[in-house]
Symmetry: C3
Subunit: 435 residues, 3 copies
C-alpha cells in the first residue's frame, strides 16, 4: 500500500480533470474499475456538475525575475480551480492572492476555490515573510471548461445483491494520508476480498469528495436501499490510534461490528458519535439518504497539525499503520458478512449437547470451557431477535467464538438461520463491474 | 426586585384575608392583574374553600403585665389561622400554645393551622427559656368567618393561545425568600416579557399555596390542556446556586430547556428529579393533572437553616441573586418560546450552501467555523423529529447558535417549520387579562 | 438448617437412585412433600430419563492388597454413574480412571458421567502421587438399570393460583454448600411461609439438577404460564456476600424485588446479569420457557476454591450465613407477595389528607415526616402504571414504608388496587400438595 501511495502522490488531482482520470487509470491496473464520466452541467440533487479544471503550469517570478513559486515543485502551490492569469502586480496586490499558515510557518497549506472564480498561490509562511517589495509576475496556465466529472466504481459480487459500500475520495492533490492512504487501502481491500467467500456484494467507490459522492447518490437514487451499510475510508496511514465515527443511525450493524472489533483488539482506540462534518459520510448520512455508513480512520479529520498541508507527505505515513488499518477493515467486514440471526430449534430447556458430541463427557468439572459457554449463549439467545453480534455484546464474548459455536449448532440441527428480518433483497442493477 | 420585596415584607399574609388582598393590590400597580374572589364553601376538587381569616392584634402579657410577644413586632409571632382568644393562664398551660426551635434558639418559627381550629404563638427559644412562672394573659383579636379566597392572574397574550404558566405563592407572611422573592421575580418577568415577541401566551398566577393552586385548577379544568408547560417561581433570592426540579414528566420541553440553559451557563447548578413535595408543582404535577411544570429555585425547599423562620428576612436576600435568577428564567422561557422543529427541504445530500452565501468561499481550511457547523447540524437533523433543542442536546452546541443557523436556513428556503406535532391549539378562554 | 444439612450430608445422592429417594423422604418429615417417580425412557423435551443408578460398595486395593480408596470413607471417591467393574490392572491402566486436582492437592474432586458409560475413582492429588507401581484391584458394586427418576414437590396454596417457584437441586452427594444448604433453606422457607398470609401460591421443587428441572417443565408445560416468578436456591451457606443473578428477563418483578431488598440491606452484595450457565435457571430461562426466575446465592457458582470438592463440607458452612440467606429470601418473597399496583381515586390535585387524619395538623414545620412523604409518593404515582416497587425505585424509599402508606390510603378510600395488568390467573392444576 505504501508503494501505491508513493506512485499516486505526484499527480495533481482536483475534483475534476486529468489528475483524477490518471489516478483512476492507475487504480484500474489493480482492480477492474468501471470509470464514469458525468458531463458539466448535469444536475445532481441541489448541485450541478462544475466545469472541468486542468492545469499545465503555474509560477510566480519575483522582482528579479527568479521563479520563486512553481507548480512543478509542489502541486499544493496553486489554489485548486484557479482561473488562468498572467500579469504583473505589486507585492501588496500579490499578497491578496497568497495563502500561508503563520502558526505552521514551514508548511504549504492546501486551498481550493471550486465554486468561486478566483486564483491564488499557497506557500510557506517562512517564504512569504521574505518576499521583498517590487513588481511580481504571476502565471497560471489552467483551463476551466465544459467537460466531465470522473469517478470509478467496482462491484465485487457476493451471494446476495445486498451491498456493502466502501467509499474514498480521490480529489486531493499531493496529500498522502488525506487521502491516498484511503485510496490504497480501498484498493488492497478490493483485491483481498476477491479471494474470500462473500455473502454480500461489495461496492468500492473512488469519487471526488462531496460532489462525487452526491453525483453517485443522485445517479443511483432508486438503488440506494440495496446498500446494507458501508464505511468511508480515509486517513488510515498515520501513526495515531484507530478512530471509529458512528453512522447517523448510531447503532446499526456496522457500528456494532466496528465497536466489537475495536473493543476486542487489545489496542487503544476512540469512538466518536456521528456529526454532520468530515468526509462523504456527510452525504451518505444526510437525512434523506440516511445510510448506515460509518467511518474508520486513524487520527480523525482535522485533528493533526499536518492536516491539509505539505506536511501530509510520504514521511507522514507509516506502512505498519496502513497494514494495521487494513486488518481492522477486514475484521469489521468479516463480522458484518458472517453475522447471522438464528432460531433455536429446541427452545424448551437446553437440548442435550452431550449425545451430539458437543459437550465434554465428564461432568462436574468447575473449569468453564469457553466453547461450551459459547454454545450455551448462542442457544439461549437465538430466539430470532438476537444476532450473533447482539449475543457478543450481551455476553462479552468474542464474535468469532460465538460464530463458531453457531456453525457447530447449525450443523447439529439445533439452529436454523432466521430470515425474518431480511426483507431487503433488491433488484439486479445495470451498472456494475465483474468480480 | 429587592425594593419590591421590601415593600411587601411587612404585610401579614395568610391563605385568605386582607393581607393577600393588599399584596395583590400592590402587584396590580405593576402589572394589570385580574383579581378573583372565590367564596368560602366553594368545592374545589377534594377541598373546600375555608373561612376567611383576618387578624387585627395579638399579644401575650407576662405575670408583671408587660407585653412580651406582640404581633406588631413580627407577624410570625401568631400561628396563622389562630382563633380569637382572650384569657389568663398559667405558664404550663401557655406552653401548650407556644412554638419555638431549640436547635435555632434565636429565630422565631413560622407555623400555620389552616384546617384545625386552635391558636398559638411563636417565639424564639431563647425567649421561651426565660419565661417565669405565673399568670399570663393572651389576646388574639382575629376573625374566622365566611368570606373569600383571593388570587390574582395576568395573561400576556402571544401569537398562539398555548400558554406557559408562571405560578408563585402569595400566602406567606414576613418571609423574604419564601416567597416574596418569587412574587417579585414573577412580577418583573411579566413586565419584561410584555416588551418581547411571544409565540406563546404567558399566564402569571399569584395564588395562596396549595388551596390557591387547587382552586385555580378546579376552576379551569377544561382549559388545562392548553397549558404547554410552566414553572413554579419560589426561593429565588438567596445566595445559593440555581436548582432546577424537573416536572413529573421528567423530559418535557421545559425540562430540556432548563437543563440546557443551566448546563451552558458556566455557573454551578443542581438538578433534582421530580418529587411530590415542595410547592405548587405538587398540584400541577398530580397524576390527574400532570402538566409539564418544573420549578427553578436557588437553594431548594427546606434546605437552608433559615427556612420558615424569622431568619428568612430582608438581609437573607441578595439583589444580585434575584437578578441572576431573573436572567435564568428569561433564558429558559426564551428557549421554550423560540424552540422549533423544522423539516429540511433538501434532505438528499447537503444542499449547496456556497451559492446561497451561507458558506465560506475558500475551501480546505481546517479551522472549524462554528456557524457552518451549526448550519450542518441543523440541516442534518431537521427531519421533522428533532427540535432545535434536541439538536442542541445531540451536538452539544448552544441553542442560540443553532437557532440562528435555523433562521438563516429558513430564510434561504432550505428549512420549513414542521407543525405536525403541534396539535394542541385550544380554544379562546373567557377569563384573562390584557397584555 | 445447619443440623438438617448435617443429617443429609452422608447420603450418596446422584441424579437417580435411592440416595435421592432417601433425601426426599427426610425432607418429607418436615414438609408434606409429594414424591414423583418418572420411569426410565420417558421423553422429556430433547432428553430421555436415564437408567437408575445405585451403588452399594466400591474400593481400590493397592499391590499389597490394602484398600486405599473406599466409598464408605467419602462418596465423592466414585465417579457418579460409574458402571460395575471388578478387575486387576496396572498403575498406568488405573490412572486412566483416576481424577485428582493438582492445584488443590489435598481435596477430592467431584465427578460425574451420567450420559457416558464408564467408571472412575476420585482422590486427592497428594494420595495419587504416592501410588506405587504394581497390580491394583478395583471393585465397583453398582447397578445401572431401568428404574425411575425421583423428585419432590410441595405446593403451599395462597389466595390466588399464581405461583412463585422455589427450586433446588438434590442430586449432589456429600457436598454441603452445593447444595444441601439450598435444600435446607428451601425446606425452612416452606415451613415458615405456611404461617404467613400469602397472595400467591408457593411451589417448592426438590429436583435432580438439569434432568430433574427439565422433567418437571416437560410434565407441566401447559401450566408454566401460571408461574409468576421464582428463585433457584443454591449455595446459601458459605461466608461470602449475597449475590443475585438476574432472570433472563432482567427487570422482572422478582429482579426488582431482589435488587430492592439487597440495596436496602446495608450489607455488601453483588448483582450479576443473567448468563445461560449455573444451576436450573438455565432451564427455567431457556428461550422457549423464559420464566422470570433469578437465583440468590452467596459466593456464586464455581467462584470458590472448594467448589465441587471434598472441601465443600460441613466446616465450610456457617449457620449465621444460612440464617442471613433465609432472611433475604423471606424479604424478597414478602416484597413480591405484597407488591401492588393502585389507582389514586382523587388524581386531580392532592386529596386533603388532613381531614382524613393522615396529615399532621400543624403546618409550616420544615422537618420532613417520612410517612407523609411516603403518602405523597404513593398518591402521585398510583396511576395504574407504577407498582409500589416501581415507586420505591423512583423515590429511593423503602418498600415497607410505601406499602404501609398504601394500606393507609386504601383504608381511607383514596386508593384502589388496579387489576388491569393481572390477566394471568390460570386454571386449577391436578398435581399439588396441601398447604
Amino acid at each position: 500500500m505504501y508503494e501505491f501511495v508513493r506512485q499516486l502522490y505526484p499527480i495533481c488531482r482536483s475534483i475534476t480533470g486529468n489528475g483524477v482520470r490518471e489516478t483512476l487509470r492507475i487504480i484500474g491496473q489493480r482492480v477492474p474499475l468501471q470509470i464514469r464520466e458525468v458531463p458539466t452541467g448535469t444536475k445532481v440533487f441541489d448541485w450541478t456538475i462544475p466545469r472541468e479544471w486542468n492545469i499545465r503550469d503555474a509560477w510566480v517570478k519575483d522582482p528579479s525575475g527568479r521563479k520563486i513559486i512553481e507548480l512543478r515543485n509542489s502541486n499544493l502551490h496553486v489554489v485548486s480551480y484557479s482561473v488562468p492569469v498572467h500579469k504583473k502586480l505589486s507585492l501588496p496586490e500579490l499578497k491578496k492572492h497568497l495563502h500561508s499558515l503563520p502558526e505552521l510557518p514551514h508548511l504549504i497549506p492546501y486551498r481550493t476555490s471550486y465554486y468561486q472564480a478566483t486564483w491564488g498561490f499557497c506557500l510557506s509562511h517562512n517564504q512569504q515573510r521574505e518576499l521583498v517589495e517590487g513588481e511580481y509576475e504571476v502565471f497560471i496556465d489552467s483551463s476551466l471548461e465544459d467537460g466531465h466529472l470522473s469517478f470509478g466504481e467496482y462491484l465485487l459480487k457476493g451471494q446476495t445483491t445486498e451491498e456493502v459500500l466502501l467509499s474514498c475520495h480521490v480529489c486531493h492533490p499531493s496529500l498522502a494520508n488525506d487521502n491516498l492512504s484511503g485510496v490504497a487501502l480501498a484498493t488492497a481491500l478490493a483485491q483481498l476480498l476477491e479471494g474470500y467467500d462473500r455473502r454480500y456484494s461489495y461496492r468500492f467507490l473512488f469519487v471526488p469528495g462531496t460532489i462525487g459522492a452526491i453525483t453517485w447518490l443522485a445517479l443511483n437514487e432508486d438503488f440506494i436501499r440495496q446498500i446494507k451499510c458501508g464505511l468511508v475510508v480515509a486517513l488510515v496511514g498515520d501513526r495515531g490510534k484507530l478512530t471509529y465515527k458512528k453512522s447517523r443511525q448510531r447503532c446499526a450493524e456496522i457500528d456494532q461490528a466496528a465497536l466489537h472489533v475495536l473493543g476486542h483488539s487489545g489496542a487503544a482506540y476512540e469512538v466518536q458519535d456521528f456529526s454532520p462534518y468530515g468526509y462523504d459520510e456527510r452525504q451518505y448520512c444526510s437525512p434523506g439518504i440516511d445510510l448506515a455508513v460509518g467511518s474508520l480512520t486513524r487520527t480523525p479529520y482535522g485533528r493533526y497539525l499536518e492536516y491539509h498541508t505539505s506536511g501530509d507527505n510520504l514521511d507522514f505515513l507509516s506502512a505498519d499503520a496502513l497494514e494495521d488499518s487494513l486488518q481492522a477493515y477486514l475484521s469489521i467486514l468479516h463480522v458484518v458478512d458472517t453475522n447471522r440471526r438464528y432460531r433455536n430449534q429446541y427452545p424448551k430447556c437446553e437440548p442435550q449437547l452431550g449425545r451430539r458430541g458437543l459437550y465434554s463427557e465428564l461432568g462436574g468439572q468447575s473449569d468453564g470451557k469457553e466453547l461450551e459457554m459459547a454454545l450455551l449463549w448462542v442457544l439461549n439467545f437465538s430466539d430470532g431477535e438476537h444476532s450473533i453480534l447482539d449475543i457478543a455484546a450481551r455476553s462479552g464474548k468474542p464474535f468469532a467464538q460465538l460464530a463458531r459455536a453457531a456453525r457447530l449448532l447449525e450443523r447439529a440441527g439445533l439452529l436454523k438461520e432466521s430470515m425474518e428480518r431480511e426483507e431487503i433483497r433488491g433488484v439486479e442493477r445495470p451498472i456494475e463491474s465483474g468480480g
